[in-house]
Amino acid sequence: MALEAGKARTILALTAPAYLWLALTVFLPLAVMLYFSFLTVTPLGGRVAEFTLTNYTDFFTKRIYWFNAWRSLEMGFYVTALCLLFAYPAAFFLAKWIAGRWREAIFLLIILPFWSNALVRTFSWTMVLREPVGLLFTYPAILIGLVHAYLPYAILTIYVSLQAIDDRLIEAATSLGASPRQTFARVILPLSMPGVLSAVFLIFVPVIGSFMEPRILGGKNAIMLGPIIEGEFVSAFNWPLGSALSFVMLAIVLLALIAGSPLLKRYADLA
């Protein structure tokens, strides 16, 4: 009994600081927005608002919202998939095949772009992508910009996972007769899953809400849920609708997580 209470106190002490901070700065403010999302108009400036569900039903009935939500999810998939595709080999080579000074140097070089400002970087891309390359203001340009921005995140998290894998496990597998492919599929990949999943979390989620890179690089092809939400806040002063759309997006992401979680469990058990 005393053990249980002590354990509960420990857990509370460990999680309270972070979550109370989040509560004050994010959860409570967002709760306010959630409340707004059920109103007809933004209840500021003497407006009288009534309760309504239309901000949510509009998502399903009006094409511009669900179609653009799909566009955003699609973009999220592409960017995440491309990032993982290119980052995994890089992280793997760095963690397992390169050592010493070289490894440190390359590692530093990979994380250095974190220190460049995203806006300036994106504008630099416009210089690279316009004529004669001619990709500016196209959909692929948005992909290039976003993959470029999020690639280091993927490399970093996958690397951290891979680097922790004990080499003796690999040696053991090989000595037991496993082929390189089997070793990779049965030992390395599962053990690196935490890193891969972190990468998915850190990339997919922000990408589907992004509106800056799409706007600067995509021109008129930037229309997706992110820019639509921005329009509701910045131009239309329709915070209820903007918030509702954001919460719907959040719900979609959480649903995807719940749907994918049996898969995650399988990999976690393998490792």
Binding site: T10, I11, A13, L14, T15, A18, Y19, L24, T25, V26, F27, P29, L30, V32, L44, F86, F93, L94, W97, I98, W102, E104, F107, L108, L109, I110, I111, L112, F114, W115, S116, N117, V120, T122, S124, W125, M127, V128, L151, P152, L156, T157, V160, A164, L191, S198, L202, V205, G209, F211, I229, E230, F233, W239, F247, M249, L250, V253, L254, A271
Partner: protein
């Protein structure tokens, strides 16, 4: 060529190409900082005019300094708070765990514009108001999910039994933590701190909403400059920041092995 030799060669080539891609716009950005044309026109004419302009641009320098120390403080606070929470998730099973983990999604999923607006309104209603304190509150909040996830991933690789062994051997929980767990956790902590720093340093929306008049951060200044008419002075400050951080990291690398042991 030995199999290992071919491997290293192949790996090097792949990494080289990847770095080329990562640095393409950055090199362009740095090169244009030295180009005389204010409209980014070619041909390239070497000139230090923008760096000289930067030296007298108090506003931009002050904003850069603000961003730097805000990011440092954010990284420190977020890493500590996040590590504690990540530790709880990694070492304990409890009913609320799933809920708490899911709660990490809203700060990252909801567009920053919404989070920023809601913070502005909420801080106004609760009297917290705008200011540097508000900016810090916001930055740490946005960095926390990243930190918790990254450290969490690293925790998976730190064997709990090592800690338990230490405890059985007579070490206090604090000693077990600092002597065993912490060093093993270190790469994850460094990565998390880097993320938190990057998230804060580049954070525009929250800073924009919560900054009081007259106080600015670098991303806000860059954004204003871009709307008003930006000259390569922006490139100059960006180039300097990259060079500075490279220098800083090289210094830290002397004392701590990036990329972990081995």
């Amino acid at each position: 060529m030995t199999r290992d030799g071919a491997r290293v060669w192949g790996a090097g080539l792949y990494l080289g190409l990847m770095l080329a891609f990562l640095y393409l716009p950055i090199v362009v950005m740095i090169v244009m900082a030295f180009n005389r044309s204010p409209l980014y026109e070619l041909p390239f004419v070497f000139d230090l005019v923008w760096f000289k302009a930067l030296a007298t641009n108090d506003r931009l320098l002050q904003a850069s300094f603000n961003s730097l120390w805000i990011a440092l403080v954010t990284a420190a606070i977020a890493t500590v708070l996040g590590m504690l929470a990540a530790y709880a998730f990694a070492r304990y099973e409890f009913r609320a765990k799933r809920t708490l983990q899911v709660l990490l999604f809203p700060p990252i999923t909801i567009p920053w514009l919404i989070v920023g607006t809601s913070m502005l309104v909420f801080f106004f209603w609760t009297g917290i108001g705008r200011g540097l304190h508000a900016i810090l509150l916001g930055h740490v909040a946005l960095a926390l999910p990243y930190v918790i996830v990254v450290i969490g991933a690293r925790f998976q690789a730190v064997d709990a039994s090592l800690e338990e062994a230490a405890l059985t051997a007579g070490a206090s929980p604090w000693q077990a933590f600092t002597r065993i767990t912490l060093p093993l956790l270190a790469p994850g902590l460094i990565a998390a701190a880097l993320f938190a720093f990057a998230v804060s340093f580049d954070q525009f929306v929250i800073s924009y909403f919560l900054a009081p008049p007259g106080v600015s951060t670098l991303p806000v200044e860059i954004y204003s400059a871009i709307r008003k008419g930006f000259t390569p002075e922006i490139n100059a400050v960006s180039a300097l920041i990259i060079l500075l951080s490279m220098g800083l990291m090289l210094i830290v690398a002397r004392f701590y092995k990036f990329g972990g042991e081995r």
